[in-house]
Amino acid sequence: MTEWTRHHLYDLEDLSKEEIELILETARSFKEVSTRDVKKVPALRGKTVVMLFFEPSTRTRTSFELAAKRLSADTINFSSSGSALSKGESILDTARNIEAMNVDMIIVRHQSAGVPYILGAGVQASIINAGDGCHAHPTQALLDIFTMKERKGRVQGLKVAIIGDILHSRVARSNIWGLTKLGADVTLCGPTTLIPVGIRNLGVKVTHDLNDVLGTSDVLMLLRLQKERQQDKFLPSIREYARVFGINKEKLKKAKKDVLIMHPGPTNRGVELTADVADGEYSVILEQVTNGVAVRMAVMYLMSGKKTAE
C-alpha cells in the first residue's frame, strides 16, 4: 500500500498515480461517514484548521469546513476578500500571523497563482491549495475524478471532454494532470481564444468543434464561463457561446447513452448547459458536491499524518 508522506497539497502535478489513488480510496471510506446519523469521526480531534480565503468562495469553503468538522477538527475562517487585505497584503506576514496561532492546517485560496507555495515555504502548518489564480484546484479535480471512478468503475481509458474556457480554468488544469496520470483520454473543447498556448504538451487533444467530442465521450465536463469574457473580447457574445459550445437536450441526443454531465459549479444555466440538462438524467453535478466533502476529508485525514486508508 502506498504511504502518504506529503506535508502540503499544492497540485496534482506533484502527485504520483498511486498517491491520487490513495486519496480516492480513502475518500471512499469517508463518504459513508456523511450518510450516518452522527456524521462525525474523531480523526482530527484537537487539530486546528484555518480557512484562509483571499477570494470569495462559498461552495469550496463550506465543503472544506464541513469536511474538517466531520473529522472533529476546530475550524477558523479568515476571509479577506473585498477588503484591502486581498490585494497587496504581504503573504508572509499573513503566514506568520497564522503560524503564531499554532494551527495545524491551512486551506488557502488566492487570486494569484503560486501563493500556496509561498505560504508553504514560510510556515510549519500543512497547506492545502483550495484554488490559486488560474493555476490549480487539486481537491476539485480529485472530487471530479472520484465521481467518474465511482460512476464508471475506472478512469483508465475513459474518454473525458473538458469544455469551455480552458485558458482561465484552474479546474481544467488540475483535472488534466490527474486524469492523464490515471490514463484517461482527455480532449479539450473550446473557442480558439480560450485555449492556452502549448496545452497539447500536457498529453491532451484539442478541438474547437463540439461534434468531435459529443458522440464519443464518456464524460462531458463543462466549465463555468465568466461573463466578463465577452467584455474582454475573448468572445463575441455569451449568446453565441451558448449556441456553439453550450449543451442542451437536443445536442445531448448525439451523446453516449451513459454519458456523465459534470460541472464544478456554480452553473450558468442557459450558457454552459440548459436547466433541463443540469437537472437531467445524465447530470452528476450534485453528486460532485456530495463527493467533495468526502474527498476533502480524505485529504485532510492523510495530511494530518495518518498514513493509509482506514
Binding site: 501563493v115 493555476h135 498556448v197
Partner: protein, 426 residues
C-alpha cells in the same frame, strides 16, 4: 595629486595588450599609458596584473529618488553602481514625481554630485508625466543635464505622438530610448505567454507585444531618417527585426539585460517574485538569440535595468508584485560568467558592450576606453574570482535578485571615477 596604476592588463573594446601597462592619471584624466612609467610624484597603485576596463556604463538604471527612497536612493544606488564597476549610469525618469522638467533634473543632478561617486545622467521623460500625450520641454531638459529621453516602463502608445516626439528630439539633440511593449497586447500579462504560462495559469505577455513596437519604431525612424535606442530586447524576433533594420542602414541601437541573456521563463515556476520582470523572461530560444545578437553586435550594449524593490512590495503574490530586479551589482559578473566564459563574447567585446558602445550611444566622447586624454574612469576586475551572490551582500537597498544563491565569476576589485577610488573590494 597624480596617480600611477601599475601592472594593468588593459582591456579596450578594440584591443587587449598582452603586456602589462601602467596608467598615469592626473586631474581626472588619463595622461599616459605605457609599460614601466616612472613613478615621479604620483601615488602608486599596483594592480598586479589584474584586468583594467574602462569604467562601465549602464544606460538603464532606476534610482527611485525622488519618491520611493525606501526602495533606493541616489546615494545607495551610487554605491551599488560603483560596487558593480560602473562609473556612468543613466537613471530613468519614472520617479515620483516623474523627471519631466528642469527642476527635478537639477535636483537629481545636485544630489548625484553631492554623493559624488560616479557620473549620473538623468533621462528625462518623453511626455509629461509619462502619460504619452504632451511632449516635455526638451531644450530645458537638455540644458539641465539630460542626454536622453524615455517613457521607460511603457511605450509611447500613440504613433503620431512618437513621430512628433522623435522629430522634435532630433532637433533638441536628445536620444530617445523606447520601452517596447504594446499595452493592449500585453494586456496585464505577468510573465511570458508560453507553455510555462499555460502550466502556471498565469496571464501571458506575448512576444508580439514587444515586436509590434520594435517594428513600428523601426519604420517611423526609417521614415524620419532619425535614430532610436530600443531598451531591453528580450525576444528572438526582436533581435531579427533589429538585425534587419541595421542591414538597411536604419539608425537603431539596442540593449539587452543580464537577466534576459541568462534566465528563461522556466525560472517563474518557482513563483518567486524576483523572476517577475518587464519585459518578461522568455524561452531558451530567445535567450540564445539575445546572446547571438550581443555577439554579432545587433544588440549594441548590455544594460542592467536595475529596478530595486522592497521585500514588502515584492512578497504580495506573483500577480500583484511589481516588475523588476536589482542588477547593478551582478551585471558584470553575469557578463563574464554567461557570455565570456561560454565563448559568446571575448573580453574585448564585453568591454565594448558594457562601456565603449553605451558611451557612443549616449554621446560621451571621453569615456568608454582606457586611452590617453580620456576620463580616468576605470574598473579593476579579477575575471577569475568566484563569489556567491547573497542577500546580505548588496550595497543597494534592494535584494530583489533572481541570482541569489548563484556562484558567479568575475569580481570588481577597485573602481575609479575621475581618478579617485570610489570603490574598493575588501
Amino acid at each position: 595629486m597624480a596617480v600611477l596604476i601599475k601592472n594593468a592588463l588593459i582591456v579596450n573594446a578594440d584591443k587587449m595588450d598582452p603586456n602589462l601597462q601602467d596608467i598615469l592619471i592626473d586631474k581626472g584624466l588619463i595622461v599616459r599609458v605605457g609599460p614601466g612609467l616612472p613613478d615621479g610624484q604620483a601615488r602608486v597603485m599596483d594592480v598586479k596584473g589584474k584586468h583594467v576596463f574602462p569604467g562601465l556604463i549602464d544606460l538603464h538604471v532606476h534610482l527611485r529618488q525622488p519618491g520611493r527612497e525606501d526602495k533606493e536612493t541616489i546615494e545607495t544606488g551610487s554605491r551599488a553602481a560603483v560596487k558593480g564597476g560602473f562609473t556612468t549610469i543613466v537613471c530613468m525618469p519614472n520617479t515620483k514625481p516623474v523627471i519631466d522638467n528642469a527642476m527635478i533634473v537639477e535636483a537629481v543632478v545636485k544630489e548625484a554630485r553631492r554623493v559624488g561617486l560616479l557620473n549620473i545622467i538623468p533621462a528625462g521623460a518623453m511626455t509629461r508625466g509619462q502619460n504619452g500625450e504632451e511632449l516635455t520641454d526638451m531644450f530645458e531638459l537638455k540644458e539641465a543635464g539630460c542626454l536622453a529621453l524615455t517613457d521607460d516602463g511603457r511605450s509611447v502608445a500613440n504613433s503620431q505622438t512618437l513621430r512628433l516626439a522623435l522629430d522634435y528630439a532630433r532637433m533638441a539633440g536628445l536620444l530617445f530610448m523606447e520601452h517596447c511593449q504594446d499595452l493592449s497586447l500585453s494586456s496585464g500579462g505577468v510573465m511570458n505567454e508560453s507553455y510555462t504560462s499555460t502550466l502556471l495559469g498565469m496571464k501571458g505577455d506575448p512576444v508580439v507585444a514587444e515586436t509590434v513596437i520594435v517594428a513600428r519604431d523601426i519604420e517611423i525612424v526609417h521614415y524620419l531618417k532619425t535614430r532610436i535606442h530600443l531598451q531591453h530586447m528580450s525576444a528572438a524576433r526582436s533581435v531579427e527585426l533589429v538585425r534587419w533594420a541595421k542591414s538597411q542602414g536604419i539608425q537603431v541601437t539596442a540593449e539587452a539585460t543580464p537577466h534576459h541573456f541568462t534566465l528563461t521563463d522556466e525560472a517563474v515556476k518557482s513563483f518567486h517574485p524576483n523572476t517577475k520582470v518587464n519585459p518578461p523572461l522568455r524561452t531558451a530560444v530567445d535567450v540564445e538569440a539575445v546572446r547571438q545578437g550581443l555577439k554579432d553586435g545587433t544588440i549594441d550594449c548590455i544594460a542592467s535595468d536595475h529596478a530595486p524593490h522592497t521585500v514588502e512590495d515584492k512578497e504580495v503574490g506573483f500577480d500583484h508584485a511589481p516588475f523588476g530586479v536589482t542588477g547593478l551589482e551582478t551585471a558584470l559578473a553575469l557578463g563574464i560568467t554567461e557570455l565570456v566564459s561560454r565563448g559568446v563574447l571575448t573580453l574585448n567585446q564585453l568591454v565594448d558592450r558594457m562601456s565603449a558602445a553605451p558611451a557612443r550611444i549616449i554621446g560621451l566622447e571621453r569615456k568608454g576606453a582606457v586611452r590617453e586624454g580620456y576620463d580616468a574612469d576605470l574598473t579593476v576586475v579579477d575575471i577569475d574570482e568566484e563569489w556567491l551572490v547573497k542577500a546580505e551582500g548588496f550595497a543597494s537597498k534592494a535584494v530583489n535578485s533572481p541570482f541569489i544563491g548563484r556562484t558567479l565569476k568575475g569580481k570588481v576589485k577597485t573602481t575609479l571615477y575621475g581618478g579617485k577610488i570610489v570603490y574598493q573590494d575588501d
